[in-house]
């Protein structure tokens, strides 16, 4: 792992991963979108609106996966001072926020015809919204200091604290809902129940794979940009100070 703190070795590896991920993203997304939008059967209750799920659920999975990966990067930065980890957090946060936003927006578009409302203060919805604000906080903190190293450290700590907080929020919100509301909502929101038919499960998984590859592509591109912009920053400082 530490060999890749060397930028050159990282760049060699990232080029291979980037190419692979790009190819797989195109294949999976193309195949997945065809399966999801055209080939898969409409749901017997939700009819065609069920197709929103093929975007919604992978986005939700990724929004959590990206936060978890950022938490691992934050630990790596704080414990081992691994240089790439700080860049990774900065690179991944906006992508994670975008997937969370996609998840929220598609969810609300799906909710309108299915539940008859754009928004419910349901456990899942609320905790995803909070996750979105955590992403925003990480992004804001990442730009808050003039010294980029300090920004990275500060956002790493925030990611870590947020990762302790997130399960608490998740469970507390569920708790809080069972205190106040009938449990019917939570069972409705569990769309990805294990009893899903293979005709729908396959496109869902292909889409999830496509989203994951897309995330890898975007993350590597952004990571490279972050490294380049840091290089520019250092070069500028060098010319200023002679």
């Amino acid at each position: 792992m530490f060999g890749y703190a060397n930028p050159k070795r990282y760049q060699q590896l990232s080029r291979i991963i980037l190419a692979l991920a790009l190819v797989f993203a195109v294949i999976f997304l193309g195949e997945g979108l065809y399966l999801a939008l055209i080939a898969s059967p409409p749901d017997y209750q939700q009819s065609e609106t069920v197709r929103i799920m093929y975007i919604h659920v992978p986005a939700a999975w990724l929004s959590m996966f990206i936060y978890a990966s950022m938490a691992v990067a934050a630990l790596t930065l704080i414990i081992w001072k691994h240089t790439l980890a700080g860049f990774y957090i900065r690179a991944a946060a906006p992508i994670g926020a975008a997937f969370t936003a996609i998840c929220l927006i598609t969810g609300s578009l799906w909710g309108q015809p299915t539940w008859g409302t754009w928004w419910v203060w349901d456990a899942r919805l609320t905790s995803v919204l909070i996750l979105f604000f955590l992403y925003l906080g990480v992004m804001a903190l990442g730009n808050a200091y003039d010294n980029p190293d300090k920004s990275q450290q500060a956002s790493a700590w925030l990611v870590l604290i947020g990762s302790i907080n997130l399960p608490i929020i998740k469970f507390s919100v569920e708790w809080w809902n069972t205190l106040h509301q009938p449990a019917s909502l939570t069972s409705l929101s569990r769309m990805a129940n294990p009893g899903i038919h293979p005709d729908m499960l396959v496109p869902l998984l292909v889409m999830a794979g496509g989203f994951l590859c897309l995330f890898v592509v975007l993350a590597i591109l952004r990571l490279n940009n972050e490294i380049l912009s840091r290089k520019i920053h250092v070069m500028r400082l060098r010319t200023i100070h002679g």
């Binding site: 909070i130 604000f133 955590l134 925003l136 906080g137 804001a140 903190l141 730009n143 808050a144 200091y145 003039d146 300090k150 450290q153 500060a154 700590w157 925030l158 604290i161 947020g162 907080n165 608490i168 929020i169 507390s172 919100v173 708790w175 809080w176 205190l179």
Partner: protein, 220 residues
Amino acid sequence: MKQLTAVLMQDLRIDIRHGGQIVILPAFFLLIVLLYPLGLGADVKTLQTSGPGLLIIAALLASLLPLEKLYTDDLKDGTMDLLLLSQQPLSLYVTGKIMAHWIIAGAPLVIMSPVLAQMMGLGISWHALMLVFTPATLLFVLIGQIAAALSLNAQRGSVLLALLVIPLYIPILIFGAGALDLFQSGMSAKGPALFLWAMLAFALPLTPLVTVKLLKMQID
């Protein structure tokens, strides 16, 4: 111990001589609560059903206000540099800060809460209120001061602080409001109240250590 009390007494003294947040914050707390009957209507039933949640939201907002100043003054006037040079453990300083801040910005809210509960027409006994507001305000201070240390000296610090801290406050709000709600309806509030105290037991030893790390990062 000596250092701890020194920090504690100094902060209290500074606060009193600078016009006393210890007085202003309860007034602010009262003002937020005052907004609810004006906004929602003074109907007793509405106030009774939404009152428990409103009280804890008001306490949350009142705790948010003084956080920004917590460490900035000490950073700007060089106190923190001296502390680092003096080789004294920074954790004692942070603990002293937290204690002083709770006395100034937390305890008054706890003391005020029975009065406000009476004004909202809630039938919650004063010791039930203490049982909820004591850990809630302590947690507001403990978690809030981490966010204060995180956004210390940052650009647009105060807006950033609110953005960072409110998502972190949500569990406290949920369990606090949950406990108060159960007390209000006369049921056992053991579950959420114990959760609050458990979070406090978890946060009390850990948060000062995190802040020490953050302050060290901020200074160098």
